[in-house]
């Protein structure tokens, strides 16, 4: 294995070819599309198929004239709807990440501290909903949360409330939906981290007279920070662009940018504005995504 690499030999031995197969695929189908989004975000909408002007105008000359327009971006900043939608997505993503972290941490911690023979089955119970359709899990909540739904029926029959609560089509329903759908994404990295934790450190703290509560905050939590970070990124980043949950559970006043993008694209057929919405969302998320990538690479190595 210590041979001096010969560039020609390694080329013909196929090393490069093996790297190139997934590399080229991802460049073609993941990176290249963003260039088209950027391009179309600089075009103007027209009534045609496809519904945008072309950026390069060939005309008669050899050199094309470029017709870039920042109109879509200016439009995003002139209409307060879009800025509000970004801010509201940010708020919903941050609050729901914190809620998911609190609930997910208690579950992951309890699974990791459960007797060894239970852990396999408990972990499987966490993973199972993760494999079940997202759409179906969100749909399941509609029957529970709506005005004449099961939650109101149950609460009224016990006599806790006498008028049905309005939860469906509010932000509260969106939070419930997000926490529910993204919980496994939070639990899995936390569990992986907590399960590996060196228990002798906790015993040492206890032996030295540290109270369990303090041990938790000063030893367990700092040691599980990589798991916390990974879990939070896995929830925060996709929730920022979430569409299905605000669409099915949220109301008309629930503003989220994923829903705005969907509306611009499918209902208004304004592709340049939809592209500009995507580009700005991407710009907001690029740093969290890079931090997530770095944390994952650190965890592997």
């Amino acid at each position: 294995m210590q041979k001096i690499p010969n560039p020609f030999k390694s080329f013909f031995s196929g090393r490069l070819a093996v790297i190139a197969i997934p590399y080229v695929w991802l460049l073609l189908f993941f990176i290249l599309p963003f260039i088209f989004v950027l391009k179309i975000s600089l075009a103007e909408p027209i009534m045609a198929i496809p519904p945008y002007t072309s950026l390069l105008n060939w005309g008669d000359s050899w050199i094309p004239s470029i017709q870039a327009s920042l109109e879509s971006y200016l439009f995003l900043f002139s209409d307060s709807l879009y800025i509000k939608a970004y801010l509201s997505s940010l708020k919903i993503a941050i609050i729901s990440t914190i809620l998911t972290l609190i609930i997910g941490y208690s579950i992951a911690y309890s699974v990791a501290r459960a007797p060894t023979r239970w852990r396999g089955i408990l972990l499987m119970l966490v993973i199972l909903p993760f494999w079940t359709s997202f759409l179906i899990r969100v749909y399941a909540w509609i029957g529970i949360l709506k005005t004449e739904g099961l939650l109101n029926l149950a609460l009224m029959s016990i006599g806790i409330i006498d008028k049905p609560l309005t939860i469906m089509n509010t932000d509260l329903a969106v939070y419930i939906g997000i926490v529910y759908s993204y919980l496994p994404f939070m639990i899995l990295p936390l569990y992986a981290n907590l399960e590996k934790m060196d228990m002798s450190l906790l015993e040492a703290a206890a032996d030295l007279g540290c109270r369990p509560f303090k041990t938790f905050w000063t030893v367990t939590v700092p040691l599980s920070l990589p798991g916390i970070l990974a879990g939070c990124f896995l929830v925060f980043i996709p929730v920022m662009g979430e569409f299905v949950i605000p669409d099915l559970l949220g109301g008309s006043e629930t503003l989220m940018i994923g829903k705005v993008l969907w509306t611009e694209f499918f209902y208004n057929r304004d592709w340049p504005v939809a592209s500009a919405v995507a580009i700005i969302l991407l710009a907001i998320l690029v740093v969290p995504i890079m931090l997530y990538q770095r944390s994952q690479e650190k965890a592997i190595s």
Partner: protein
């Protein structure tokens, strides 16, 4: 194990109730005689019979299965290669970009992936249909497979591969004869994961599909928008049942594989 106190039991009971009660209620009400999803009118399987009459739903299911089968198979091949490249190819030029392209699609909001993939297909004048949905599914599924393979390779013993190479086995044969059989459970898990991811996807499929390639989640979504009905509960129950069966059998295969290794 010590320190498994009341708090832990309460957390697990509440946590798992939260995770499972909605799904259990969903399944329960698929067997409801009444059309109302919230009032129990007696046991009945009539909604399953009704499903069989729904041609649109059956067509969508068939499209979805085809897309899921092809995309998960291709994604498993590409993802396995990508996972090996990430763990066994050392540092090569462009490695950071490569790992970025593996991790980013897993967290990237689906609306962005869907929109960008679609805009590329439109700009390149590729007709939208089953083919384009499949391409889009391969792309995000292969990243999940790559991560599954990558984590499997972190506990992989390189000395056996080295022994084969030292004895004159070609890298390709070594992979087929040595590495692949060892990591097979992870490859199968990756395939199953891609299959369910493709089966589940609504957002990316909505962007990249064309006329005649409506997938099951798209069909369910359009039904959900019209209201909650026992038929949707019935379709959902079938899907949940299939996925549960798949996950349980995959975990049994994995466990048996482990036992065999220990016996050897």
């Amino acid at each position: 194990m010590k320190k498994f106190g009341n708090f832990n039991i309460v957390a697990l009971v509440i946590g798992f109730s939260f995770l499972y009660i909605p799904i259990i209620l969903l399944i329960l009400f698929s067997f409801n005689e009444s059309r109302l999803v919230t009032v129990w009118g007696g046991f009945s399987t009539k909604w399953y019979g009704e499903l069989m009459q729904n041609q649109g739903l059956k067509d969508a299911a068939w499209v979805t299965i085809k897309v899921a089968f092809v995309s998960s198979t291709v994604a498993t091949i590409l993802g396995t290669i990508a996972g090996l490249v990430m763990t066994r190819f050392g540092n090569f030029r462009g490695r950071t970009l490569f790992s970025g392209m593996i991790y980013a699609p897993m967290v990237m909001p689906e609306v962005i992936i869907g929109l960008s993939t679609l805009l590329m297909f439109v700009a390149l004048a590729v007709d939208r249909g089953v083919f384009t949905v499949t391409l889009a599914h391969i792309t995000f599924s292969m990243c999940y497979v790559a991560v599954v393979i990558q984590s499997r390779m972190s506990s992989y013993d390189d000395s056996i591969t080295e022994a084969a190479l030292d004895l004159g086995c070609t890298p390709f044969r070594t992979f087929i004869l040595i590495t692949l059989p060892i990591i097979l459970p992870a490859v199968v898990a990756g395939w199953l994961l891609s299959f369910t991811l493709s089966l589940d996807d609504l957002v990316i499929a909505s962007f990249t599909s064309g006329p005649g390639s409506t997938t099951l989640p798209m069909k369910i979504y359009s039904m959900v928008r019209l209201g909650v009905t026992p038929e949707i509960n019935a379709v959902s129950t079938i899907l949940v049942g299939l996925v549960t069966l798949g996950v349980i059998s995959a975990s049994i295969i994995g466990r048996r594989q482990k036992q065999n290794v220990i016996k050897v």
